[in-house]
């Protein structure tokens, strides 16, 4: 596991077309040596779970700016659990009010990266989490 590259699924749940952030993060993670699969826009929770299983990823990154995160994240996390992939690191980014972050963390979202965050922070967070995980 340590030797293989970290595999990341970046997905855009819901209907919003704002993909600037997702694409910038996809490119930055790729430049940092990770294997990145970006789904494109308008993905349903079911499509995202399916892609995460198919691509056998370590990380699922969800980018959303429409405000539908409280409705769309639970079926994704539930779907991963049902397929036995509760070990996947789920992180999120986009326009997410601070008040919602504790709720999302309780659901199992490990971190929320809002506007202004540096891609370096996302990269080091993923690297740290995945290394710790595979060391156990």
């Amino acid at each position: 596991m340590n030797k293989s590259r970290i595999r990341v699924l970046l997905a855009k749940p819901g209907l919003d077309g704002h993909d600037r952030g997702a694409k910038v993060v996809a490119r930055a993670l790729r430049d940092a040596g990770m294997e990145v699969i970006y789904t494109g826009i308008r993905q349903t929770p079911e499509m995202i779970v399916e892609a995460a299983i198919q691509e056998d990823v370590n990380v699922v990154g969800l980018s959303i700016l429409s405000g539908a995160h409280l409705e769309l994240f639970p079926p994704i996390i539930e779907g991963l659990r049902k397929k036995g992939r509760e070990d996947a690191l789920v992180i999120a980014g986009g326009i997410i009010p601070e008040d919602d972050i504790p709720t999302l963390q309780q659901m199992g979202v490990k971190a929320v990266f809002g506007p202004g965050i540096s891609t370096e922070d996302i990269i080091s967070f993923i690297q740290k989490e995945i290394t710790q995980h595979s060391a156990c």
Partner: protein, 551 residues
């Protein structure tokens, strides 16, 4: 001394100064990486010809503005993009904004409305009323405009793939209020090409989409003559990360595609071109933005007169709405956004905008609260009435720097248009992913510049300090979705369903033919067919379109 050249000055005065103390940056650049000189002089405008390059305001090539006296006659339209929850809540916000002195309405629709799904569709889950107001049927529009007579306001609608349906609802609502289509004022964004490039609310493939767009041109030319049939938008292209030159190059290339499509559909250019309008971003680089607006006006005037042979001077005029840059807002230290927005709004007015939206300081978190939007409206009123900005036309015209930047942006944008022409036009270039790839490269470079410290964002990568959390953010409650679904269910129960089926069948026949689709849309909405039902018919005939370039 009198004939001293810039080069001589560089050697005798600048060089020794630079030897004593280096500049703060190795290089100063525009958003597209063109180097900016220390100072600009007449030498930078060697071929400058006042009448040819600038002319007088209200005259070709309109560099100085589309009206002869600009804001001395009437201030630009203060038009805040607004909508959330159901029609009732948004109606209250509109009445509030009008009370604060806003002079035009601008409807933000939620994503299901933009993508052609009713609020009870499974794909609408969680999205109803979130980024805009939910409109499923004419009933919702009636509520949205309660107490707002349509002959007294102008209304802009950010609606693209479903533009003909919302326009039909607006015309039908006018009729119900006793306002004739000829008295309606407003704009449908109706710009599908930038959806494929940057915004992502397309439904159908380009060809049927272009037909729906030009059907609006043809219909309005006769029936709704004061309507701005399209708002060809660079705003979202810039928000997606393009440079200023790409913003106007790609937008005008899209404009060329629409004009060509309408001509190919048999329309005379001067019948529809005067109703074309544009929408640009007013970003953070102050002078570059002012020059961008001027360059876009001059370039479009030349395109319409020389490339398309338009004869009516109104066909040459690039009229535009502008919005301050959403992507320049920061989540940290959010009150700084008020200052950023004021400076961006100033650039738009110095660039000669016809209408303006100023962002609210809390928009990196949520749609604006009432307090935040009031400050945004007041910002425009301060610019309009306190600072003397609106008292003279194009005050920066003749500045060596502004004229040099205007020339340089026009040239860069013209090169993008040539490149797109060579790829087969805007639609073909989009299908090849050209504009999308260019924008991705620019946005990645921009992000790297922030992270590398080359680009300063106050409160984000410099001058970072703790800041208080904003209180009173606007939240759209989950009950909204429930209430909206109930209303649509009620509409389906109350209407005459055989009329609905008849109207949908007629739409299907018209869509399969070459006839103008607008009358059939009008018949559907007047029978209270829902937006989702109408789009289902079109999806069946036209099929749907995925993103052209994912990554």
């Amino acid at each position: 001394m009198a004939n001293k050249t810039k080069q001589e000055w560089r050697e005798t005065t600048l060089a020794p100064a630079l030897k004593r103390a280096a500049e703060r940056q190795e290089k100063f650049e525009t958003s597209s990486g063109v180097e900016i000189d220390t100072v600009y002089t007449p030498e930078d405008l060697p071929d400058f010809d006042y009448i040819r390059d600038l002319g007088y305001p209200g005259e070709y090539p309109f560099t100085r503005g589309v009206q002869s006296n600009m804001y001395r006659g009437r201030i630009w339209t203060i038009r805040q993009y607004a909508g959330f929850g159901t029609a009732e809540e948004t109606n209250q916000r509109y009445l509030y904004l009008l009370e604060q002195g806003q002079t035009g309405l601008s409807i933000a629709f939620d994503l299901p409305t933009q993508i052609g799904y009713d609020s009870d569709h499974p794909l609408a889950r969680g999205e109803v009323g979130k980024v805009g107001v939910a409109i499923d049927s004419l009933r919702d529009m009636e509520i949205l405009f309660q107490g707002i007579p349509l002959d007294k306001v102008s209304t802009s609608m950010t609606i693209n793939a479903t533009a003909p349906i919302l326009l039909a609802m607006y015309i039908a609502l006018g009729k119900k209020q006793g306002v004739k289509p000829t008295e309606l004022n407003g704009t449908t964004q109706n710009d599908i090409l930038k959806e494929y490039i940057a915004r992502g609310t397309h439904i159908f493939p380009p060809r049927p989409s272009m037909r729906l767009a030009t059907d609006i041109f043809a219909y309005c030319a006769k029936q709704v003559p004061r309507w701005n049939t399209i708002s060809i938008s660079g705003y979202h292209i810039r928000e997606a990360g393009s440079t200023a030159a790409q913003e106007i190059g790609f937008t005008l290339a899209n404009g060329i595609a629409y004009v060509q499509a309408a001509i190919d559909a048999g329309l005379d250019v001067d019948t529809f071109a005067p109703r074309l309008s544009f929408f640009f971003n007013s970003h953070i680089n102050f002078f570059e933005e002012i020059a961008k607006f001027r360059a876009a006006r001059r370039l479009w005037a030349k395109i319409m007169r020389e490339r398309f042979g338009a004869k009516d001077s109104r066909s040459w005029m690039l009229r535009f709405h502008s919005q301050t840059a959403g992507c320049s807002l920061t989540a940290p230290q959010p009150h700084n956004n008020i200052v950023r927005t004021a400076i961006e709004a100033l650039a738009a007015t110095l660039g000669g905008t016809q209408s303006l939206h100023t962002n609210s300081f809390d928009e990196a978190y949520a749609p604006p609260s009432e307090e935040a939007v009031t400050i945004a409206v007041r910002t425009q009123q301060i610019l309009a009435y306190e600072n003397g900005i609106a008292d003279v036309v194009d005050p920066l015209g003749g500045s060596y720097y502004i004229e040099h930047l205007t020339d340089s942006l026009e040239k860069e944008a013209g090169e993008y248009i040539t490149k797109i022409d060579n790829l087969g036009g805007a639609v073909a270039a989009i299908e090849q992913g050209y504009q999308q790839r260019e924008i991705q490269d620019s946005s990645y470079r921009y992000q790297k510049e922030i992270e590398g410290g080359k680009r300063t964002v106050v409160g984000v990568n410099k001058f970072v300090s703790p800041y208080p959390k904003i209180v009173g953010l606007l939240r759209v409650k989950p009950e909204v979705e429930k209430r909206q679904k109930e209303r649509t269910a009620q509409v389906r129960k109350d209407r005459n369903n055989s009329n609905v089926h008849k109207a949908l069948k007629r739409l299907e026949d018209v869509a399969r033919s070459k006839d103008n689709t607008m009358p059939a849309f009008l018949e559907c909405v007047e029978a209270y067919a829902t937006l989702g039902e109408i789009c289902d018919v079109l999806r069946k005939i036209f099929s749907t379109q995925k993103e052209f370039l994912v990554f």
